[in-house]
Symmetry: C2
Subunit: 240 residues, 2 copies
DNA sequence: GCCTTAGACTGGTACCGTCCAGTTGCGGCA
DNA sequence: TGCCGCAACTGGACGGTACCAGTCTAAGGC
C-alpha cells in the first residue's frame, strides 16, 4: 500500500473511525484496551491515548475509567458546537448552493459598521451582499462586513464560488469563536421581494460576529432565512 | 504549605488559569515555552502539554505551531456549545422566571409522541406544559414529553420551581447530547392568546430532543418564544 | 451452591528520552 | 545601512517505562 501520510495519531484516529463507521465496532461496544491496541497497531500507548482522546472530544467514543473505552451512540448532527459559515453549512448538508453576489464594495466604515467590526469609524472595510439559492428558490440573503485586511481584493467570482470562511482562512486568519443570535422576524417588503415570499412572512434572522483567536472581529454577518425552507439545527453536549 | 491535592496536571492547569485571571498573563501575551515551564514547575513536559491541551480545549489558551502558546481573549458567552435547559438558560442570564404548570399528566403515548421519544406506542409517558413569564409578561410556552421512567412521580410544585434538567439528573440520568432545531413561525390564534401577542406575530419555535449518554431519548420538547422578548444566543468555536 | 478473594485486567498519571520542521532574532558580511 | 544565513527556540510527534486504584472474573474455600 502507498504508505498513508500524516502523523501516526491522526492515521490511527481515522483507522478507528472507519472501524466504527463500517459497523465492525457497533455503538456501546467496548474498544480493545489501550495495551492490546499498542500491539495491534504497533504504536506507543501515548499515541493510542492521543487518538482516543481526540475521538472522545469529537463525541465518537467515551471512556469509563477502569472499565474501558466504548463507542458512543451515533451523532445526530455533524455540527456539534462547531463554528461553520452559512455556505459551508449548506454544503455540509449535501446541498448545492448557487450564490449571487449582489454587491461587493470596499469603502470607509460608517459608524454602525465600525462598531460592529470594532474598528475606528472611517476605517476601510469590505461589504458583501449575497443571495443564496438552493434548488432554484431563494434560501437566504446575507450582508457581511469584513475589515479591509481580511476582505481586501476579493472578486465577485471568488465570493460566489467559495465559502467566506475559506477565503478568510486563506488570508492566514485563524478563526476562533463566533457569537450568534437568532430571532424570528416578519419579512419587510424589500426582504419579501428578495426572498420571493409574501410580506410579513416569518424569517429567521441570524446575526453573527466571528473573531479570530486573538479576539479581533473578522466578520460581522446578518442573514435572513426563509423559514419555510430552512431550520437552524445544532447539537449541544452536556458538560460533565 | 498544605500540599494541594489532585493530579499534577490539574493543579498545573489551575495554577496557569490563576496566573491568567490575576492579570499576570494578559490576553494575547505569550506563555513561557514548554521547556522553561518544566523547570519552573518541576514537572515533565508531558504533564505540561496535558495541562495546556486542556486549557486550549476550554478556549483559555491557543497555540500557534512553532511560534508559541498564547492567552486567548476572554470568552464572550458562558455557554459555549453547552447543552442547557430552557429554565436553566433563563437563570444563567440572571433573570427570574415564574413558571406556571398548565398541565402535568401521565398517560400512554400516542403514535406521534411515541415516535418522538423512540418508545413503543402506548408506553407510559409524562407530559408537561408550562408557561414561563419574566417580568410579568409571557416569554415562552413549552410542551415537554418524557419517558415514564424519567418523569414519573413529579409534582407541579417541583416542575414549576426547578429546571427540568435538574429533575432529570436527580433521577440518575446522565445527560448526553441535545439536538435542537430552530425555526420562525407565525403565532396561531391559540399561541397568540397564551403569549399575549397578536395573531401572526413572529415566534421562535425550538424543538429539542435530549438523549442520555447511551443515546436513549430522555426528553422531547417543543417551545414557542415571543420573538420580541427573546433571541436565541450561542457561541461556537472553530475546529482546528 | 454460595461467598470470598486473588489476580488479571482497565484507564489515569507521571516520568524519561529523541527527533523534526518551521519561526525568529541576531550577528556578520557586502 | 541593509540584506542574509545560521543558531536558538518553538510546539509536534514519537518511543519507552513505571506505578496506582478501581473493576471484573474466575478459582478456590466453606
Amino acid at each position: 500500500m502507498p504508505a498513508p501520510q500524516g502523523p501516526l495519531h491522526l492515521r490511527l484516529r481515522n483507522a478507528l473511525k472507519e472501524r466504527i463507521q463500517s459497523g465492525e465496532l457497533p455503538p456501546h461496544s467496548s474498544l480493545p484496551g489501550e495495551r492490546p491496541l499498542m500491539a495491534q497497531y504497533n504504536v506507543s500507548r501515548a499515541t493510542i491515548r492521543q487518538a482516543i482522546a481526540e475521538l472522545c472530544n469529537e463525541g465518537v467514543l467515551y471512556r469509563l475509567p477502569r472499565r474501558g473505552t466504548y463507542v458512543a451512540a451515533p451523532k445526530f448532527s455533524a455540527t456539534l458546537g462547531e463554528l461553520v459559515g452559512f455556505a459551508e453549512e449548506i454544503h455540509q448538508r449535501g446541498l448545492v448552493a448557487e450564490t449571487t453576489v449582489m454587491s461587493l464594495t470596499e469603502a470607509p466604515a460608517e459608524v454602525a459598521e465600525a462598531e460592529a467590526l470594532e474598528v475606528a469609524a472611517g476605517s476601510p472595510i469590505v461589504r458583501v451582499e449575497r443571495l443564496v439559492r438552493v434548488d432554484q428558490a431563494p434560501l437566504f440573503y446575507d450582508r457581511t462586513l469584513l475589515p479591509h485586511s481580511v476582505g481586501r481584493g476579493w472578486t465577485p467570482a471568488e465570493v460566489s464560488s467559495l465559502p467566506l470562511y475559506t477565503l478568510i482562512e486563506r488570508r492566514g486568519v485563524q478563526l476562533g469563536e463566533g457569537d450568534q443570535t437568532i430571532e424570528a422576524v416578519r419579512a419587510t417588503a424589500r426582504e419579501a421581494a428578495r426572498l420571493q415570499v409574501s410580506e410579513g412572512a416569518p424569517l429567521l434572522r441570524v446575526r453573527r460576529v466571528t473573531r479570530d483567536v486573538d479576539g479581533r472581529v473578522v466578520e460581522s454577518a446578518l442573514a435572513h432565512y426563509r423559514s419555510d425552507r430552512y431550520q437552524y439545527r445544532l447539537t449541544l453536549r452536556r458538560q460533565r
